[in-house]
């Protein structure tokens, strides 16, 4: 059995690494070079006719990427830009875990061909609030009302929740429930999510 001292040192290293890795991703986004980097270009060995160049702005940073035309916006965000907040829960637009904002509107990034984001502005959970600053009122409200458990659907819920308020659909509990029904939570945190939105809505600027 390994020396306990080593193990706890390992524990410390893991904690630092977990936090550090995420902070590194935040600070350096985009982590991956746009072109000519170590990520294999989709055109390698394939038909260049199937590759498209897209220019998209994510969380205020502009990226020009050569992508396989088949790529979803979700996979580009996660695999090319290391923005793993948006999650793949179904890949068919049936669960909402991949929700991001495109030109200010909530969309399902798994069902958005990445080419559709060309020339447009995307906001992900990572861009909702600065890495080392105050959180968005909706994020704080999710904490305060425990609108989460495992956390996997949470980024999508929060992006949908912000849009729900911005698009004027948070005027009653019933309306919130209806407009948040595109985001499935298998842990069943729905009551906390609704309470969080009711709490955050009046605190959001311009709501």
């Amino acid at each position: 059995m390994t020396d306990p001292g080593d193990l706890v040192a390992r524990a410390l290293a893991i904690l630092t690494e977990e936090a550090g890795t995420w902070r590194a991703r935040q600070a350096a986004a985009p982590m991956l070079p746009a072109a000519g980097g170590t990520k294999p270009e989709p055109g390698t060995g394939g038909d260049p006719a199937h590759v498209v160049s897209v220019r998209l702005t994510v969380n205020g940073t502009s990226h020009t990427l050569s992508i396989d035309a088949r790529c979803s916006l979700l996979d580009v965000l996660r695999e090319r830009l290391a923005l793993t907040g948006a999650k793949k829960g179904c890949d068919h637009g049936q669960c909402g875990a991949c929700t991001v904002h495109l030109d200010g509107r909530s969309v399902l990034s798994c069902l958005t061909p990445a080419v559709h984001a060309d020339g447009r502005q995307a906001t992900t959970i990572e861009g909702l609030s600065p890495p080392a600053g105050d959180m968005h009122p909706m994020q704080q409200a999710f904490i305060d009302h425990d609108g989460l458990q495992c956390g996997y659907c949470t980024p999508g819920q929060i992006m949908a929740a912000v849009a729900c308020v911005n698009e004027g659909h948070a005027t009653s509990q019933a309306q919130i429930r209806e407009y948040m029904s595109g985001n499935i939570c298998r842990c069943g945190a729905y009551a906390g999510i609704v309470a969080a939105i009711q709490d955050a809505a009046p605190k959001m600027a311009g709501a």
């Binding site: 893991i14 170590t38 294999p40 396989d68 907040g85 669960c95 959970i125 495992c150 996997y152 429930r177």
Partner: protein, 732 residues
Amino acid sequence: MSDAPFPDVPRSDAHDKVRGAVLFGADDTRPDILHAALATATIGKGRIVALDTSAAGAAPGIRLILTHENLGHVKSAGFLMAGGHAFQSLQPMLSPAIAYRGQPIALVVADTLERAVEAAARVQATYSTEPISVTLDAPGAEIIEQANTPLSKHFPEIIAGDADSAFAAAAVRIDARFTTAPQHHNPMELIATVAEWKDGKLIVHESTQNAEGLRHGLVAALGLLPERVEVISPYIGGGFGQKYAMQMQTVLVAVAARRLGQAVKLVVPRAQIFHDCSFRPAIRHRVRLGADRSGNMVAAIHEVDAQTSRHDLFPAHYGAVSSRLYGIKNFRARARFVRNDVQTPGYMRAPFEHAACFALECAVDELAYSLGRDPVALRLANDTATDAISNLPLSSRHVGECLRRGAERFGWGKRSITPQSMRADDGSFIGWGVAIGAYPCLIAPAVARLRVTVEGGVFISIGAHEMGQGIRTALAAAVARKLGVPAANVSAVIGDTCVSPQHMTAGSWGTASAIPAANEAADAMLNALARLSPRGANGRTPAQILRAVGRAFLEVEVRTKAPGQPDEVYGRIAAGHLSFGGPVYPEFVTFSYSAHFAEVHVEASTCRVRIPRVVSVIDCGRVISPRTAASQVRGGVVWGIGAALREVSEVDSRYGGFLNADLAEYMVPVNADIGCIDVEFIDKPDFKFNSAGVKGLGEVSLVGVAPAIANAVYHATGRRVRNLPIRIEHLL
């Protein structure tokens, strides 16, 4: 030590989760990672006669295709419930045999995800097929009595008194048959494996409830040394039992990573998940319940037929809980397996308890109506302090208080007993239903290591897995209270096989296993700190004491196990074997309890069933983390609504597998399905059970919800629906 209730504080990992900062298995996006995709069998049973991967291999960017023809020396890791480590004994791709539709037949690895997926679709298989049997009623299905199998050693027959005679002689008799459909866990996170070989070690990032089991499963499958395998699973995007053992794809991804010398990532698509892991089996029950005229239940017989696979016997332990709901002195349970051509079923949140209590609690409701007794009063009259099966005392049981408190909160006194007698303003029929639930309190051995540092850090390493139940929060709360430090300073390091043996976290035993160990570790730390400063702590924090004596850190280790367990269990957990104890302990029996009250509104014309409110009162011992505990209960109620009214995995017996293999057609509740869920805890510690007084919560929160809803539907409509899920066509 304070024995006071714990305060309501935020979940400790909420801050990271709302930022999307928590990394799950598939969130590894290093630049040189390779992507994998599975091809799966389209037949229900038979053999691969020819496998053509040439079209797949010709696609651009393909780095490797693994099939049964080239997988190499891989063995099955064995079925976890038979001493192995995997959710089933059949490891796909060891042979051309196909046991169920959806069984993986190839793993394709490419430089991009799109290419891997495309190539996997190009894999061509030719099969010889055999007839299949995929439902309980299938002709020619093999039926086996559990009592006649080796399982009877660990899951003995549940018998007390002479139930058959007592039932025959009972003044009032209920004889009812129930069915519960197959269901799937469907946590939001997709099953995913990232495997890499680094300096001769296999490192696997995969969300699992059993990192040690996964590690030793890889050891067994690939013939590795345990020291050469690490499994890391700090966060799980929903477990519910789906991730209790090694899945089917882990080994395949590990082999691919070794062949290619690069990290490989496989994210299993939702549709494939329906066939790539375990599920809740289809079950049919017969419940016979006998009572005397004053409502004392004198006899119960609970017989169950449950699906299992051809290759494994997944236990059927339903009678273990239906026998413990009340003090019924004459009880007999019987379980039979029906072998089907499916992957091995498994533990899905309250695997036995949800179905068993559905059947029994609906029968109890029928009994109440036969007797003209109020359903709450009838249950209270059959309370008990002793376990009828072992004759041992129950270490704690507050289900009577759960019923009384729940009835009061719900306003049960205003219920008019006749079905269809309560109407809403919109014409809907209102139904009020009640049911209780129970869940065995189990404890797994734990090794806890606690370190305090001069910088003020406190680290507790233990075998545990965080899947949203809030175990990190509970650990932080318990240790913080003991050491007198802020909970925010306490970090729980879990889900990593390098820090501590990572015994499975399941069976609602996580808190009951980890918290007492953490408390003991904290006590040991306090003793160690006292030895460092003999004049006493004097209100100083551990960090201050360390600074005073010039030490950088201090560390302790403790081990805990369930009452009655031998020390051999520590070797078992280090080897990744299931080692829980309970609920029958040497001197007592321990269960958690719930009482659920449901209000349903059944629309008069369309028979749509709405649930505007549920009241749930839970006896789970001391509540360490009130906020996460309340969320667990709400989540359990949502699960109960899904189980009662929404979820069924559809089986077409001509094809096998599950047809509605996506999240549109497999209906879990959405936000608009959920109304008000009012939760209360009895919060009385059970110190006989463990030193922290905690009992399990994650599953008892679901048990009893489905029968409460079914009983409410009866109250609203006059119709007894004995099949789950209850849908419009049952009421129209």
